[in-house]
Symmetry: C2
Subunit: 220 residues, 2 copies
Amino acid sequence: MTEEVKLFGTWASIFSRRIEVALKLKGVQFEYIEENLSNKSPALLKYNPVHKKIPVLVHNGKPVAESLVILEYIDETWKHNPILPTDPYEKAMARFWAKYIDDKLWPAVTKVLVSKGEEQKGVIEEIQEQLKTLESELKEKKFFGGESLGFVDIAANIIVFLLVAQEALGMEILTEEKFPVLHGWYQRLVDDAVFKECMPPREQHLSSVKVWFGSSTPSK
Amino acid sequence: MTEEVKLFGTWASIFSRRIEVALKLKGVQFEYIEENLSNKSPALLKYNPVHKKIPVLVHNGKPVAESLVILEYIDETWKHNPILPTDPYEKAMARFWAKYIDDKLWPAVTKVLVSKGEEQKGVIEEIQEQLKTLESELKEKKFFGGESLGFVDIAANIIVFLLVAQEALGMEILTEEKFPVLHGWYQRLVDDAVFKECMPPREQHLSSVKVWFGSSTPSK
């Protein structure tokens, strides 16, 4: 059976990039459709009428939305090169940490980019506590997923975005001195051939963050 | 092997009630530990150091937190009487709707209880749109899960709380005239022996909502 796999995304979105990484780790051929979020396509609105957001994976005409839901769908549909553990307890832990990253870290990261002064300092402290929590979880492991990158590592691409954002805006949040464990993890992540292939062009990414959030006051 | 299953919860929490319902649907014996949220036990803080919240399921000494994560863990650990579909696409849809209920409906429901006047009217409209979306998903089905109650029905116990809250506070949000489909679903849900057994005592529940949120202005 010929499979039709389409991904609706945007190049700068960490959420659609998660799906690209997972599909490439699985070796699944797919058509990537770049969406213009200021003028969403009728196809996107048809496939995700509830949230009207990317990413959307369309598999043989059937749409799935929400990046973590899509990742689980991919892992259950194409079972080789698993990204989630098979043990129910380990799987629950992976889901717990991915949810933590989306529910706690992501709102704080988006907030730090639009806040200023004292408020921004408070958010930076909040992020740094969250990053310490993630370092405690990672500890001596190569990846959150163990020996190879998995579900939580893919979800933790928010940290990669944070590193780009702090460089673009001259912030010091996730420094190598304060977070050696996460920096080591980041290096292994971007050394991974699949992950590297899915990174957006560096200069273009830095510029876009400057354009979007450049009015924030740098907090060092 | 003798299994040890403990649930840390509080009687009025819809989130710990989700876990009670799932364990009872599976026929899993468990010890229920009522937490006092204004004076959390050392055990709860040990088992959920990240969020310090109920519910926590402790299975043979290993803790799992976050209600939807726990529900998936229960379904994968005790496989009889499944609460999630086995088909990957159907499973993705169940996860999508449960996430919608937690990410969209729950924040709006908690907001409506603490807002007043014009702001409250706006939130009521928002909730009603979300409920219409859920009615479109439910349509002619007996339960979100199909013929028997499943993952989304358990997550949708937020709607049961909303019905209690609107009665306690004299609000009109989810009326039978406006939402006949959801009212039909609610009736089937509370007619289910397991679900009914997990409902908190009605008068106690109504009183507690009045105590917590009684200062909100009723919006009819």
